[in-house]
């Protein structure tokens, strides 16, 4: 069931439109992340949902009710801030109890709920500490407990892990995902970190300049970006700009000049106007030209070129290859790298080329 829907919403700061006719839908019990470059409007979207920002136009429906003009404190949403925003003058216990006390709950019940929540985030025994006496990860868990204990209808996270070190980030994101699934919460999660978003989300929305470019399951987006922007954003660094099609040996081929490319289209993918193919560096293969027979050289999905730069990446080597169709980046594992200046053949596997819209 659709729980949350933004319909044609616009937001402006000082007459400067940040979101324009923005649409978003989210199912109950799912975690959606907003991913995109700095300044694309992720925080703005989140603050709009929370109610800190007022929409200029459009509608925000939540659970079948119109929330467009409902004040923040009437929404019952939990917000986890990037800076944690714990109350410095209150102990861990009082921080977590804050929302419950506002709801005029009896102290006995408050205590029961706070202690249970602190147990869930593994902070038992920390009740009397003050926020400044906690580590970053512990503060973050207090912030999450404080937002969760009010049993919010929706959880909002704004880059909650960006102040933590890399190891703790991984631990915490697993924990957030576990809590969200165990408690059956619906959540919107903002992050800069692609891996973080892909690993914890049911749905990922890739944003670009105040618009959602693509929304889908992490695996779908990762494998089949729909637009060039999304493709570039998630690491498809190589593009083939086709100029037409022709009948090849195995069926329809896309062409660039004399070069032919067999492309395996995704089910239901329309190719009406898509004349651009994207491919990841790790999906390209290179072989020294000398190792190929003339017959092999004449096959489709190949472009010859010269290695310009070779960089050691640890597990693999990265090569910059200059060809008649432009430069391509290839990541390949090999024992002895191909030296710059060598002639090579790049292979573009048909099932790895993804057709994208401009």
């Amino acid at each position: 069931m659709t729980l949350l829907s933004l319909e044609q919403v616009s937001v402006a700061y000082d007459n400067h439109l940040i979101l324009e006719n923005f649409d978003l839908k989210l199912e109950e019990g799912k975690l959606l992340s907003l991913l995109g470059p700095s300044g694309c409007g992720k925080t703005t979207t989140l603050r709009l949902i929370a109610g800190f920002l007022e929409a200029k136009g459009g509608k925000f429906m939540f659970d079948g009710r119109d929330y467009t003009h409902l004040p923040v404190n009437k929404r019952n949403f939990g917000f986890v801030f990037q800076s944690y925003a714990l109350f410095p003058h209150l102990s861990v216990y009082d921080n977590v109890a804050f929302g419950l006390r506002l709801r005029k709950m009896k102290e006995g019940q408050v205590k029961e709920k706070v202690l249970r929540m602190l147990d869930i985030v593994s902070l038992n025994g920390f009740e009397k500490r003050f926020p400044q006496e906690l580590s970053g990860g512990q503060r973050q868990r207090v912030a999450i407990a404080r937002a969760l204990v009010i049993e919010p209808d929706l959880l909002l996270f704004d880059e909650p892990l960006s102040n933590l070190d890399a190891n703790l980030r991984v631990t915490m994101r697993v924990e957030i995902r576990r809590l969200q699934q165990e408690l059956g919460m619906t959540a919107v999660y903002v992050s800069h970190d692609q891996e973080e978003c892909f690993s914890i989300s049911d749905q990922v929305a890739i944003m670009n300049a105040g618009k959602i470019e693509q929304l889908g399951a992490p695996t779908d987006i990762y494998q089949y970006p729909k637009t060039e922007y999304v493709a570039r954003f998630i690491g498809f660094n190589n593009f083939l700009v086709f100029d037409g099609t022709r009948q090849g040996n195995t069926g329809l081929e896309w062409t660039i000049g004399d070069y032919g490319f067999d492309v395996q289209l995704q089910a239901g993918q329309s190719t009406a106007n898509t004349y651009k193919g994207a491919i990841r560096p790790e999906d390209l293969r290179i072989i020294p030209l000398g190792q190929l027979t003339d017959l092999q050289k004449s096959l489709s999905n190949q472009v010859p070129g010269t290695v310009k730069v070779s960089t050691y990446l640890g597990r693999s080597y990265q090569f910059e290859v200059q060809t008649a169709l432009g430069a391509f980046t290839v990541n390949q594992e090999m024992d002895i790298p191909i030296a710059p200046g060598q002639q090579v053949m790049i292979t573009f596997p048909a099932d790895k080329i993804v057709m994208v819209a401009q």
Binding site: F77, F81, F87, F98, L102
Partner: protein, 263 residues
């Protein structure tokens, strides 16, 4: 470090002598038995301290000063805290102008302000002396309240206020439960500074006092115009001690608060 900073030591000593010297001299002369201020005094006597109470205008104006400063402080807080909050929380057109207006009483010479207040508050609107004095002192305290509280709000993380609101608090609830407790030391400091500013004020009060109603500094001024005995030195010593005590208490209080509000 073994290195000795003789130059610095000598310089600091000179500064201390220069700053504290007059205070020491006044304190010592207040214990003199003679009828004029004399240093060093010829003997020891507490009679000028008794004289403070004998001249009944001193205790009377002291009480007036305290009441005016405290009430004015309260009024300045009621006006100043919301103003300081709005000025640091929101970015709106005319904010800088408003800031300048609120701070203008510190920039305008006291005499000019005092005269203007006399003209408007007492002459034009015919306010009673006591009320006029209160208005005048509220006006001189307001900029200090706004500036000091404003500076403690300027590095305030307003996301904790948003957190309170997202947890269900109304705007006022969020302010009183979350913002206020975290700027308590700033408010204490503002109250203290404003109180001293008002309590010691001469240039506004001199225009606003009238028959039978005066503040302590004005009364002292009137007294030295007529007498030159050490009563004034004795009263200065009493004021120094009271101010010192006040500073000490507030310092302890703020130190204690700073412990709880440190991040």
């Amino acid at each position: 470090m073994k290195e000795k900073h003789y130059g610095l030591a000598i310089f600091s000593t000179l500064v201390f002598i220069f700053l504290l010297g007059p205070l020491v001299i006044i304190s010592v002369t207040s214990f003199g038995p003679g009828t004029v201020l004399k240093f060093p005094p010829d003997g020891f006597s507490l009679k000028w301290y008794q004289n403070i109470w004998a001249v009944d205008m001193f205790p009377k104006t002291f009480v007036t000063s305290i009441i005016i400063s405290l009430l004015g402080n309260l009024l300045a807080l009621i006006l100043g805290v919301p103003a300081a909050y709005a000025l640091s929380r929101y970015h709106f057109r005319g904010r800088d102008l408003l800031n300048a207006i609120f701070l203008s009483p510190v920039l305008i010479p006291g005499i000019v302000l005092g005269f203007t207040m006399l003209k408007y508050v007492l002459v034009m609107y015919q306010l009673p002396i006591y009320a006029g004095l209160l208005v005048g002192h509220t006006v001189i305290m307001l900029p200090f309240i706004i500036r000091v509280i404003g500076s403690s709000l300027s590095n305030f993380d307003f996301s904790i206020e948003e957190a309170a609101v997202s947890l269900g608090a109304g705007r006022l609830q969020a302010f009183f439960r979350v913002v206020l407790p975290n700027i308590r030391s700033g408010i204490m400091a503002a109250v203290l500074i404003a109180f001293l500013e008002s309590f010691n004020n001469v240039d506004i009060s001199v225009f606003m006092t009238g028959p039978g109603i005066s503040t302590l500094p004005i009364q002292m001024l009137t007294y030295v115009q007529n007498y030159f005995d050490p009563t004034i030195a004795a009263i200065s010593v009493v004021l120094m001690i009271l101010t010192g005590l006040l500073m000490f208490v507030i310092e302890r209080l703020m130190g204690g608060l700073a412990y709880f509000t440190k991040r």
